[in-house]
Subunit: 212 residues, 2 copies
DNA sequence: AAGTGTGAAAAGTTTCACAGCG
DNA sequence: CGCTGTGAAACTTTTCACACTT
């Protein structure tokens, strides 16, 4: 159903796109180390996958390698960057600057990876600012206007779980196309909108199952 | 001798175990609302999956339903809780109380879900305390002793990416069996150890691919 | 000789369809 | 009758093996 994406006639597994990000990181490191060509075996080892999977994944997007030689690090690196839609800087907003939201803003992890978090929204902006958020914090009533005026397409959602569905409805109506959701709830959105769930407690619970 | 008692975690899809956590949440909500029985159709809708998948998932662990009626909410809820290994409180340590690590500690999201974060470790404990961590913060040299003395099996890893592999090696040697890793790196661990990666930038990058 | 690209096989996961039970 | 439990079918993703190119 929603586990793949059609580009032309080829069906690309969603997991392959996640791996693309990982390959990109490895390629960047190789490039920083002055490596100009890499084999599928070497790159796969760095990315923690099988060489055959790496070759298959890259083949979904084109032919980048030279037989007998390997892949050109710099070209492949920038091609993946473009494929992931990272060529133009995407503005991101964060909605819900409570405990977790403000923690993420102070962390600056998204900025480090080249995303521009442009504003935060909260039902109580003053409280958010008192939590040490230095970014502009607006009341959530400003959401729609801001999204429209700045053509924002990505949102990080950290509101309390009981408000998550209502807020995401507003975000979608305002034009948001991708949501990074930290609430432990299955959000319902139109098919054109992509939701990625980061459920910290669920991840820890999953580990709990695997320790004897 | 033949033994049908194959409760080995081998044949059960990993994804099914994630869904178990989601089912548990939905069941708890139903129980709070005074519902005592639920059909696969209703529970599946709440969890965002197909009824057939829900039934298949539950069947991996036993027979819980009554034909013609549905599933007993309370019994199923506690059975899943036990299955996930949550019956006995698991102590968790957090390693690397820098920007992200201290943010997670201030967030208290794990405690809210019933995990007991018992201590934090950092190369510079004083700096971590100054970041507002109220939990005991120990120098990372104390890791091995603490893990052994408190029989800790779960660790949240938030150290800078360049130290992640070295630190996880120490954790594994000290007896840690499950790692929730926030570093953007593929960690190498023995098969007996489970690693769950939470890569925030990667999730946002993945969204970037799908908006257009 | 080295290493990619790819069809085909294998493995894994989801969905179907209906038997069987309360 | 309604709804679970489940074998088999359908579908997805990974891995293999080797032809083919530089």
């Amino acid at each position: 159903m929603e586990n793949s994406d059609k580009i032309g006639k080829v069906d690309i597994p969603k997991k392959a796109i996640y791996r693309l990000s990982i390959y990109h990181r490895c390629l960047q490191k190789l490039h920083d180390n002055g490596v100009s060509t890499v084999s599928s075996t070497t790159l796969a080892k760095a990315a923690g996958v099988k060489p055959s999977q790496l070759r298959k994944d890259l083949a979904y997007f084109g032919q980048f390698g030279t037989r007998g030689l390997g892949y050109p690090v710099e070209i492949l690196c920038s091609t993946i960057w473009e494929t992931l839609g990272r060529e133009q800087l995407q503005p991101v907003i964060l909605v819900g600057a409570g405990n977790l939201g403000s923690a993420l803003l102070r962390y600056h992890g998204f900025e480090k990876e080249g995303f521009e978090v442009v504003a935060a929204f909260d039902a109580n902006p003053d409280a958010a600012r008192s939590r040490g958020v230095t970014l502009p914090v607006f009341p959530d009533s400003d959401l729609e206007t801001f999204i429209a005026e700045h053509s924002v397409k990505l949102a990080i959602l950290c509101v309390p779980v009981e408000f998550a569905q209502a807020v995401v409805n507003r975000l979608v109506a305002a034009g948001i196309q991708g949501v990074l959701n930290f609430s432990p709830i299955v959000l319902e959105v139109p098919a054109k909108v992509t939701v990625n769930n980061v459920d910290l407690a669920l991840e820890l619970e999953h580990l709990s199952y695997f320790i004897r």
